[in-house]
């Protein structure tokens, strides 16, 4: 069993009052495996994801532990070294595509900028690569998209652009934090489809969500988080049909309640 991502004893504290927000989180993601993380609002899912890519403000949060990508601990490297991995070997799909892009930069330049940060491509070559990766995402009129400002595109389109950016540098792991939450049902289906393709190509996927439906469709294993700790873990089947903690049961029930309300 080859794990491409190993997270060990990840602890996140608030520096100002030394309180621990995320405690002793450990998990593995294997090649072509999808790990789901679920938990109520404020349970520390986003902080965990951000800490893995070193996105947390060092002046606010203290982060301890190990985040090993193919054996290399990026968390404890200096920033210059780890930047070569972040955005390339491990990449992220953000929750809200409408605010993730720089509103004053054209979509194409986001792609070019990312490619140039990790490769020696010229600007022209990078632009051509950008067009190709957008076409692979089944986007129409890619030249137009490349030349658009983010606010002129729909959330669904931007989310696909973000996935294209995440995939274009052939990552080993992709972290998707509520990547489907802001989208309508149709776009959600498209994104879930992309997740399937990613796992088929051997990418390890970490999917954070509130939505058991999403977990049920894509995940192999599930972590349940509460108050910054992992309180339960297992295969999707175990968690869905045989939850051990009251908390997980409640989460599952709440989900059915939501469904009932939606269909009422």
């Amino acid at each position: 069993m080859d794990n491409i991502l190993e997270v060990r004893d990840l602890n996140i504290s608030l520096l100002e009052n030394n309180s621990t927000i995320v405690k002793d989180v450990s998990f593995d993601v294997g090649r072509g495996k999808v790990l789901g993380i679920i938990g109520e609002s404020g349970s520390g899912k986003t902080l965990t994801c951000k800490a893995m890519l070193k996105l947390l403000n060092e002046k606010v949060f203290g982060v301890r532990g190990k985040v090993k990508l193919n054996g290399a601990d990026i968390l404890n490297m200096d920033d210059k070294q780890s930047r070569a991995f972040i955005g390339k070997d491990i990449s992220m799909i953000m929750q809200n595509p409408m605010t993730a892009f720089d509103p004053m930069m054209k979509v194409g330049n986001h792609i070019v900028e990312t490619l140039k940060a990790h490769t020696s491509l010229s600007k022209k070559q990078a632009y051509a690569v950008g067009m190709r990766v957008l076409e692979k995402m089944n986007l129409q009129r890619v030249a137009e998209i490349m030349n658009s400002y983010p606010h002129t595109l729909s959330g669904g389109m931007l989310q696909r652009v973000m996935i294209a950016i995440a995939l274009m540098l052939k990552p080993r792991v992709i972290v998707a934090d509520e990547a489907t939450t802001a989208l309508d049902v149709k776009n959600q289906a498209i994104i879930l489809d992309e997740f399937q393709k990613m796992r088929d190509s051997g990418i390890g996927l970490l999917v954070v969500t509130h939505d058991f439906g999403v977990i049920g469709k894509v995940a192999d294993e599930v972590l349940v988080m509460k108050g910054g700790e992992i309180i339960e873990r297992g295969t999707v089947h175990q968690i869905f049909y045989n939850p051990r903690t009251e908390y997980t049961k409640e989460l599952l029930e709440a989900r059915f309640l939501v469904d009932e309300v939606n269909y009422a």
């Binding site: 951000k50 890519l53 070193k54 996105l55 002046k59 920033d79 930047r83 070569a84 991995f85 972040i86 955005g87 390339k88 990449s91 992220m92 953000m94 809200n96 605010t99 993730a100 892009f101 720089d102 509103p103 004053m104 930069m105 986001h110 900028e113 990312t114 940060a117 990790h118 400002y149 606010h151 002129t152 973000m162 950016i165």
Partner: protein, 313 residues
């Protein structure tokens, strides 16, 4: 875009009319009688008849609205009347004074930009560092120190104690340095505050997190993403400053005996030289309004969102 600008221009014309009407009303409710002031300056012991004559000659016996329309007709023909003080056409006097003020303001703008941008970025990036705290104290002084006092200090320090710059040396580039710094320091101080705060706010935005997640370097994130997104409020404020600098140039011009439009306006006010006062106010209002428009145009040019909100993509 064009429709938007022409809308703005219409609004600005209304502002100009408002400003000039107010100027007329205020000079009329003032207790000093300009005809009498003029008579006393030019005739020894003028009789009431002589004063009346002058009043009629100057059109000051007409009701205010007639005076205003006469003046407005002149303005539309490019005539601002004749100065009661210098007896030159107001237009000629202004054309002579404005370049002096513009050269101070131009150099002051240059200082403001080259001081504000790097210092704001440095203090935002190193928030709560020694540098940041020091800069906060310095800018607090910069904002609260009165202009005439700052000018005076600079004058004493650099022209008298260390005579690097001469005091009365109108015309050379060197003579511009102290007055322009006097204007620039308070404005740079408050724009550092604004830009630092805007940068800090933008550093918390999602697009910064996402740029980091894509592996973009810190420098690129600051200079290419955060700074650019922090410019629009800065541009608006800076263009307002340009207006304030010109309108408020009187004090600095007085301290440095600089023959610009500010000191010209002050002497006109003292002499009750109504045509000059109105001419100066009109020019200052036009400049103010022009820079406000410029701020809008610049902002919509660099900010794609504003452009499309204004009705065009």
């Amino acid at each position: 875009m064009l429709g938007y600008i022409s809308n703005r221009i219409m609004g600005l014309i209304i502002v100009l009319i408002g400003v000039t009407v107010l100027a007329f009303i205020f000079s009329n409710i003032s207790s000093v009688d300009p005809a009498e002031a003029f008579a006393r300056r030019n005739i020894l012991n003028p009789t009431p008849e002589q004063i009346e004559e002058i009043r009629e000659e100057m059109g000051l016996n007409l009701p205010v609205y007639r005076q205003y329309f006469n003046w407005l007709q002149g303005v539309l023909r490019g005539e601002l009347g004749t100065s009661l003080l210098t007896r030159n056409p107001v237009r000629v006097d202004l054309a002579e004074k404005i370049p002096a003020t513009l050269s101070i303001v131009g150099l002051a703008s240059f200082w403001i930009i080259i001081i504000t941008v790097p210092l704001s970025v440095l203090s935002a990036v190193n928030k709560d560092s020694f540098f940041d705290h020091t800069l906060r104290i310095v800018t607090t002084f910069g904002i609260s120190i009165p202009n005439f006092w700052l000018g005076f200090i600079l004058l004493v320090a650099f022209a008298i104690m260390l005579p690097i710059f001469s005091v009365v040396d109108y015309g050379s580039l060197k003579s511009l340095i102290l007055p322009s710094l006097t204007i620039a320091i308070p404005m740079a101080s408050s724009s550092i505050r604004l830009l630092r705060a805007t940068i800090l706010e933008n550093m918390k935005k999602d697009f910064v997190t996402y740029a980091k997640a894509r592996g973009i370097s810190k420098n690129k994130i600051i200079w290419q993403h955060v700074l650019k997104n922090s410019l629009p409020p800065m541009i608006t404020v800076f263009c307002q400053y340009l207006g304030y600098m010109i309108a408020g140039s009187a004090i600095v011009e007085a301290v440095f005996s600089w023959p610009g439009i500010g000191s010209h306006l002050v002497s006109a006010i003292i002499a009750r030289d109504l045509p000059t006062i109105n001419g100066c106010l009109l020019i200052i209002a036009v400049i103010f309004v022009f820079f406000n428009l410029l701020a809008d145009i610049l902002n919509s040019a660099i900010n794609p969102k504003m452009l499309s909100e204004a009705g065009e993509v």
